[in-house]
């Protein structure tokens, strides 16, 4: 037996109630051949955090221009920017003035160690904790968290804003029901509207009700045939759930920016721009709104929100790339962490800025930096992570960790730990093959308060 196919059929238990899975699936599973899904027990842990907001900077984020500047290195390493001091006398790149202000709530990790400087494989590694193999497809962290913790409210437990990263893998050997609900629309755009999530304008609630009534009349014939009662229950269940999400003011409001004040939007930097666009005009980047929606979703009970921002693969002209995209990033990070703290949500919410790898120490002849996985930076805060800390250091050029090198697996392990999930726990793929949530990860105590 092997691979996704065998697995998917065998692995569907537990997904009941999550997106996409049905009673029918469960019954089919019980009748299905092959072993049932069980798992090796992990250690019971107390959760310090209940939710995660992941801000993913795809393409490979330049740590030299952001979290790990090298002010004393030669210019070909140092680059074009200076530094700014935090209150605790640590320093970040001067591209991060607002984040430096809010730094007493955050931890910068400067010694993260990845494995492969390839976008597709490194992104998969980041999202799943494993490098890709031909035989086993591993689930994403958001899927595992949905699987382990379940839904808190009627909202789906795992949401991607606006969509998940294309290299991030999928639900692996877990049911596809654990995949992210992609909102499919950018909150940062004026046209923002969650995909297929609202009753079309001009359609009255009477019409919606009439449609559903007519549907019920038409369903009776096949119901009476008793062709596949489980499947019909499933379909009816989805129609009920859809109706309730479409008509529930709370569910609708969780995705909406309507209740947010101008002040809040500015706190997140909604008016911060970068370089002029091709049309010679300045445009806000929309990250502020994405993170505001992420916060609203967490407030409404979503477990894992993944937000993507920017395009960071700057093989050419790292300076322009930085000047264009970094100001909005700085403002949004500072805004979100401040806002979470003010609302008393920072202790229960992990805010995590990720990238699949960093950039090479030396600027290349095109003024860019290339892929570098051996030592790079992430930012993390909330959920019991230390407030105001630089964790680990890179060597003089930023090529290798100099102190406290942190394997990616350890970081993931520690995040799971804060959510009350023992990542040593084994999930059974193929019904028989135990797979640890994180293979060989250790708790990075130094990251925790």
């Amino acid at each position: 037996m092997s691979r996704r196919d065998a697995i998917r059929d065998a692995m569907r238990v537990g997904s009941l109630g999550a997106l996409g899975l049905s009673m029918g699936d469960l019954f089919r599973l019980q009748a299905a051949e092959g072993g049932a899904f069980t798992m090796t027990k992990g250690v019971q842990k107390t959760a310090k955090a209940t939710s995660v907001i992941q801000l993913h900077l795809g393409g490979g984020f330049q740590q030299q221009e952001s979290f790990d500047p090298k002010p004393e290195a030669p210019v070909e390493i140092r680059g074009s920017f200076g530094i700014t001091k935090t209150k605790s006398k640590d320093f970040l790149s001067d591209n991060f003035p607002r984040t430096a202000e809010a730094f007493d709530k955050l931890t910068v990790i400067r010694s993260l160690v990845g494995k492969i400087p390839d976008h597709s494989q490194a992104t998969y590694h980041l999202f799943t904790g494993y490098t890709p193999t031909a035989v086993i497809d591993y689930p994403q962290m958001g899927s595992i968290i949905s699987h382990e913790l379940g839904k808190k409210t009627e909202l789906p437990p795992y949401v991607a804003i606006p969509k998940q990263n294309g290299f991030a893998g999928g639900t692996g050997f877990l049911s596809s029901a654990y995949g992210p609900f992609e909102i499919g629309s950018d909150p940062g755009k004026g046209s923002y509207k969650v995909k297929d999530f609202s009753i079309p304008e001009g359609t009255s609630i009477e019409r919606v009700d009439r449609r559903n009534s007519a549907r019920q009349i038409i369903e009776q014939r096949i119901r009476k045939m008793e062709a596949d009662p489980d499947m019909l229950d499933t379909m009816d269940g989805f129609y009920k759930q859809a109706y309730s999400l479409l008509t529930s003011p709370e569910a609708q409001a969780a995705f909406s920016l309507d209740d947010e004040t101008e002040e809040t939007k500015q706190l997140y930097g909604s008016d911060v721009v970068g370089l002029r666009g091709p049309d010679r005009k300045y445009h806000p980047k929309g990250l502020a709104e994405r993170l505001i929606v992420a916060r609203r979703l967490v407030e409404s009970g979503v477990r894992f929100v993944t937000v993507t921002y920017g395009s960071w693969d700057c093989h050419v002209d790292v300076k322009s790339n930085t000047l264009d995209q970094m100001p909005a990033l700085d403002a949004a990070i500072a805004g979100l962490v401040t806002d979470l703290d003010q609302r008393g949500l920072l202790d229960s919410t992990i805010f995590w800025v990720t990238t699949e790898f960093g950039r090479t120490p030396k600027i290349n002849r095109d003024g860019g930096r290339d892929h570098h996985a051996r030592c790079y930076s992430n930012l993390i805060g909330g959920g019991g992570f230390t407030r105001g800390q630089i964790y680990g250091t890179s060597d003089a050029t930023g090529a290798e960790p100099a102190r406290d090198g942190l394997p990616l697996e350890d970081l993931l392990f520690t995040i799971y730990n804060q959510l009350g999930i023992d990542a040593n726990k084994e999930l059974l793929a193929f019904g028989t093959r135990p797979i640890e949530i994180i293979n060989g990860g250790k708790l990075a105590k130094g990251l925790l308060a």
């Binding site: 196919d5 089919r28 029901a177």
Partner: protein
């Protein structure tokens, strides 16, 4: 405690004296390895894990006996084996749980297992000398069981056959499992107990072999009357024969409307038009169903649907990233080549053989794109390619055998690496223009090397012993072996895929997970379908015609009391959600409003769309949001389960408020026209039902909907709402 110990030493002394006598000391491969296997020591969850467990590693299920001997005897001298005090060897104290052991107690000191290992250690852990008899197969007796009802017992006896002709009862050394514990349970001694009516298999594993026995647990005989259903052809005879054995009565024949919709969707990838509906219902000729099948088979749409299925299976994606060789032009060449083969009824074995042996330009020689599309990468990775190749064309997943002999099938690492070697020489070089890649076979390429001992494994077909003759390109020999009528793996795989396409479930299911431990639910049926394919010279249409003309295909989905719970013996039609592309084409067809796809001219059918992109073709590509939402394969792997028909909330949300339906409710004023020309609401409803569901409304539906309409008999919006509910009904989204 001391007394117990003394006692056991005493017993051991007796065993030892026996050992010193006429009994030969146990051998490592013949006696010790089977115990490690049986006790689960070398299972994947324990020391058989890739990095071992708790510092001790064994090869998974014992594929590397030599290495296991070393790790047990030599790796930690004095610990795992203690010659001076054998009973203090960790091998024994761990297994009996006398010292802390993650795996707990596996056997007791008074077991045969303990005795054998003890004697082996006491004899100085002899390694095997000379040739050790190799198991060559297993026998089960009996090899099938019929239980009259639940709570009945049975025993399985397992015999191993060795290459020196000897036989040995290995029941106490084999592992057992049941494929469905709600039908039959089996314990570690091979004792069975029937638990519920149905059919399943129990399996025994020993060494690298798995063997199964069929189990039928009969429901009560009372209340069961075989109704002697009419048979149309041999398919019915075989399926009904099986059903009769299982005391399952098949459902009735479906009515004409249901049959018409079912077969038109299955063969034509579209719903019947109202004209087709009226003329089919009015036709009184007794062979009208057969004629309809022939008519649909003759239509190009049939070929186009199968082009879509092959295109998905072979992962055609058109891109614009030159080094991978998957430019849109190459994709189009390949896709159109497939279409030509399907439209001209090219025998399927020739169709496959031409791809397997193809070389030359990806832009001009369509079939050569097997080597650019099936695995999207700048270079062809022979291992990844061999794994996909075997899964697509044989339904067999051999990739497990890359690292260990397949635990639940016959495939060994020798099979795997020999098979990979067919492709180690497949190479590409840039053509005359940037988009072009030329596929060629590099005759100097080396064979794949065996993982354990690095010996080169020349190309050899699966399950054969001798490598193919290595003069030049071995793909010719591969194609010959693969597509020959004698290779039933190939013909059964194709027949099973065709059957699954039409019945919603394979005789082996999933269709690309063929293995000893996943046997066909009806072996004779698969044999017969496969034979039909071979006898018809691999004619796809001939097999489809045979299946669609069977009564089994034409059964109603309404169950009776005896087949309500049947989900795998084809005693009734199963509800099948339409494939994403067929569903979209069906929505377009009944609403009369076309759909545009990115990178394509307007007005294409969804089944003609393969994903196109401006960039690289690696990763996921759906080609359209609708496809993504409704589970069409993203072509990131060749797995059959990439194509999903599982309902999800997102699908319901999309059909409820998404643009696919919203844009089409009032499209072209179609519903308005129906309302305006209909004299009564009943007439309008009838027209809409025939259009959307290929049937007239029932009296209950008429009454209910007329009541819902109330006075608004001329209100187009009300009828559009009813149209919405037709398009959102289970009957619409499913074939039934």
């Amino acid at each position: 405690m001391i007394r117990k110990l003394t006692l056991s030493i005493l017993t051991l002394a007796i065993w030892m004296s026996q050992a010193a006598g006429e009994e030969k000391a146990p051998g490592f491969r013949g006696d010790i390895m089977p115990i490690l296997f049986r006790a689960g020591c070398n299972a994947g969850a324990c020391h058989g894990a890739a990095k071992g467990k708790d510092g001790f590693m064994l090869s998974l299920f014992g594929y590397d006996a030599k290495g296991d001997y070393y790790r047990i005897v030599n790796e930690m001298v004095g610990r795992r084996i203690n010659y001076a005090v054998p009973e203090q060897s960790l091998l024994l104290t761990k297994a009996t749980g006398k010292v802390p052991h993650t795996g707990g107690e596996l056997f007791t000191e008074d077991s045969e297992y303990y005795k054998t290992i003890y004697l082996w250690i006491a004899a100085g852990t002899p390694d095997d000398e000379g040739k050790v008899p190799e198991p060559v197969g297993l026998e089960l007796s009996p090899d099938s069981f019929v239980f009259e009802g639940v709570k009945k017992d049975g025993n399985l006896k397992v015999t191993a056959l060795y290459d020196d002709g000897s036989r040995r009862d290995v029941t106490s050394l084999a592992l057992f499992h049941s494929n469905n514990k709600s039908v039959i349970s089996i314990d570690e001694h091979g004792k069975m107990k029937s638990t519920g009516a149905g059919d399943s298999h129990v399996f025994a594993r020993f060494n690298r072999f798995t063997i199964g026995a069929e189990v039928i647990v009969l429901p009560p005989a009372e209340g069961f009357t075989w109704n002697n259903p009419e048979t149309h052809n041999y398919i019915d005879e075989i399926v009904f024969d099986r059903l009769k054995k299982l005391r399952i009565v098949p459902s009735e024949l479906s009515d004409d409307e249901t049959f018409l919709r079912r077969v038109t969707l299955d063969l034509g990838a579209r719903p019947p038009t109202p004209e087709e509906f009226h003329s089919f219902v009015a036709d009184e000729s007794p062979d009208k169903r057969a004629k309809k099948i022939d008519e649909l088979l003759a239509d190009d749409a049939f070929a186009d649907l199968w082009t879509a299925i092959w295109s998905e299976q072979l992962r055609i994606i058109g891109g614009n990233y030159a080094p991978v060789g998957t430019h849109i032009k190459a994709a189009e060449t390949f896709n159109e080549w497939i279409r030509t083969q399907m439209r001209t009824s090219r025998p399927l074995n020739e169709f496959v053989a031409e791809m397997v042996t193809a070389s030359g330009s990806n832009l001009r020689n369509g079939p050569a794109n097997l080597y650019t599309m099936m695995v999207h990468a700048p270079r062809l990775d022979p291992k990844a390619f061999a794994a996909d190749f075997s899964q697509v064309f044989l339904g067999i997943q051999i990739q497990c055998a890359e690292c260990h002999n397949h635990p639940f099938d016959r495939w060994t690492m020798d099979d795997y690496y020999g098979f990979v070697s067919f492709f180690t020489g497949v190479s590409r070089k840039p053509g005359v223009e940037v988009r072009e890649q030329r596929i060629f076979y590099d005759k100097k390429a080396e064979s794949a090397k065996h993982l354990v001992d690095q010996r080169p494994m020349p190309a050899k077909a699966l399950g054969t012993v001798e490598p193919v003759s290595q003069s030049g390109d071995p793909r010719r020999a591969l194609a010959g072996w693969l597509t020959s009528p004698e290779n039933t793996y190939f013909s059964k795989n194709l027949a099973n895929r065709v059957w699954a396409q039409l019945l919603g479930r394979g005789v082996i299911d999933p269709v690309d997970d063929v293995r000893v431990s996943n046997p066909p639910v009806n072996g004779p049926l698969l044999d017969a379908l496969s034979e039909h394919l071979v006898e018809s010279k691999f004619d796809l249409r001939s097999l489809v015609r045979e299946i669609c003309n069977s009564r089994v295909y034409q059964l109603s989905c309404a169950p009776n009391t005896s087949n309500k719970l049947d989900t795998r013996q084809f005693s009734r039609a199963y509800l099948r959600r339409l494939r994403a592309d067929v569903l979209l084409d069906t929505i377009v067809s009944v609403s009369g409003e076309g759909k545009n796809f990115q990178h394509y001219a307007p007005g294409m059918r969804a089944i003609d769309i393969y994903p196109r992109t401006n960039g690289s073709t690696g990763g996921d590509h759906h080609g359209d949001m609708f496809f993504e939402t409704f589970g069409r394969s993203d072509r990131s792997t060749i797995s059959s389960t990439e194509t999903s028909s599982d309902p999800t909330l997102s699908q319901t949300l999309h059909l409820t408020v998404g643009d696919t339906i919203m844009q089409r409710l009032d499209a072209n004023g179609m519903i308005r026209k129906i309302v305006e020309k209909s004299e009564t609401p009943e007439a309008a409803l009838e027209e809409m039902f025939v259009l959307a569901l290929c049937r007239k409304p029932t009296t209950g539906e008429q009454e209910g909907l007329v009541e819902l309409i109330g006075n608004a008999t001329r209100d187009v919006e009300v009828f559009e709402d009813i149209f919405w509910s037709l398009l959102n009904s289970t009957e619409f989204a499913f074939n039934h």
